[in-house]
Symmetry: C2
Subunit: 267 residues, 2 copies
């Protein structure tokens, strides 16, 4: 059996009772560590579960998943994923592979940023399409996601912006070498995101969104030190919401009075 178990967003105790029971009984438990991270580390989880975990990086999840799945024909294997296990395409793909290989699977859902974002008071059913904002480099500055923000905004919908994370990314130099070296982990802050967004807006003066539009910055949603901050996108370029993970929301231009009331406590 192959279990995909969501860990939720905050700390070790955000796993469900069902998830915890499965973790305790499994023969092997992997912790997925590249589509998202928990605010606590692997060791804290191991202490709480009373067992060891194996870190699963991108290579393991994408290239070597068949080996794990084949093993799951005979033994019980769980893969722990921060948030909900089906938030990322990788895991849907795993379930399809499992089906092809004849391996039984079970999903244990949990909160993800896609629903917990409602903690800022913006109503979930008023969100449009979610976008991902990638880190820009000197030579690569994609902005196609911004069209989706504009489309949501023009329909008076909020946009949740998932911010890039880089965990165990090979350095460019090492791609052509035998031994890979990896970059330090990097997590986009709401400040980084705001700086890129303002550059895009400045280059598209008629896009309908101004640099003084409202932005909602969220950090460590679900954790005890969760922070929510509401200001103009312009001001967010100078903000500091502390350690990762961060998310950003561009709210619809016209908010429901309840949404306005709720947001105002974070200004």
């Amino acid at each position: 059996m192959f279990y995909l178990i969501g860990l939720g967003l905050g700390d070790a105790k955000d796993i469900t009772v069902k998830g915890l029971e499965i973790v305790k009984k499994c023969d092997k438990v992997y912790l997925e560590a590249y589509t998202s991270i928990l605010t606590i580390g692997k060791e804290a989880l191991e202490t709480f579960y009373g067992r060891t975990l194996t870190l699963a990086d991108r290579e393991l999840c994408e290239s070597n998943i068949d080996d794990i799945l084949k093993e799951a024909k005979d033994i019980e294997i769980a893969l722990l994923v921060v948030g909900d296990p089906l938030g990322a395409t990788t895991h849907t793909d795993m379930l399809l592979r499992a089906k092809e290989l004849g391996v039984k699977t079970q999903i244990v859902h949990n909160a993800s940023i896609m629903n917990a974002v409602s903690c800022c008071g913006l109503q979930l059913y008023n969100f449009g399409e979610t976008v991902s904002i990638p880190f820009w480099t000197d030579t690569w500055k994609p902005d196609s996601f911004f069209e989706k923000i504009i489309a949501n905004y023009s329909r008076n919908l909020h946009t949740l912006c998932l911010l890039d994370i880089k965990v165990k990314e090979p350095t460019e130099e090492s791609l052509t070498k035998k031994v890979r070296t990896y970059m330090d982990p990097k997590f986009m802050s709401v400040k980084d995101a705001a700086i890129q967004l303002v550059q895009i807006i400045d280059a598209k003066p008629d896009c309908g969104i101004q640099r003084d539009c409202t932005a909602v910055g969220l950090s460590r949603v679900g954790a005890p030190d969760q922070r929510i901050s509401v200001m103009t996108l312009e001001a967010m370029q100078m903000s500091d919401l502390g350690p990762p993970l961060h998310s950003l929301v561009i709210p619809a231009p016209n908010l429901h009075p309840l949404e306005l009331d709720y947001l105002s406590q974070f200004r």
Copy 2:
């Protein structure tokens, strides 16, 4: 302290470890029973928690919430909500009232249909605005939500349709009387929803969506007897996905190959 605790979607064990600890230590625990329902009943939850629960209906949550919140100044009170506690406006409103009254609050997130819908293989970030489909009556057949489905569809986005539930709704006759009588609980099935949607499409032949468009029916997401069924909307009028709760998705017209592959197992 006032806790809003999400129960997730399946059974008693879908509560988080954090949520369960709070339930066990609280002085009073209410179970919200009108924005959604769990596939198991109050008694099963009471057995699992080892304590009694008080049902909280709409009247209690909307009109008498201040009394509960005032009590929460001195004692520990939890309100249990199926799914994630901030899926419905009611609960955001409660948190604002708590703040006004100077009552401390804590939210314990969990999976909701808004993210667990990804179990059908459609990617969450390709969903547009969520809509709610209300039960029609002989004299009241609203269809304004359909414009949102069209808008999503034309942008190649999926639409999650939340289906109406009626729990402890006063009968029309009793509204003017001293003693209220209540209707039997009623839960919209994907069949009911498809029948209403096909009527709307037939009345709007140029809307861009045809009655033979693909529809995804989901029932009891997260429970062991979860069912997912993919067929044309037309065929869904004759479907039976078993007991509630049901949800319906109108997928985007052009799907990602991975989405197509995944959906095909439910055809």
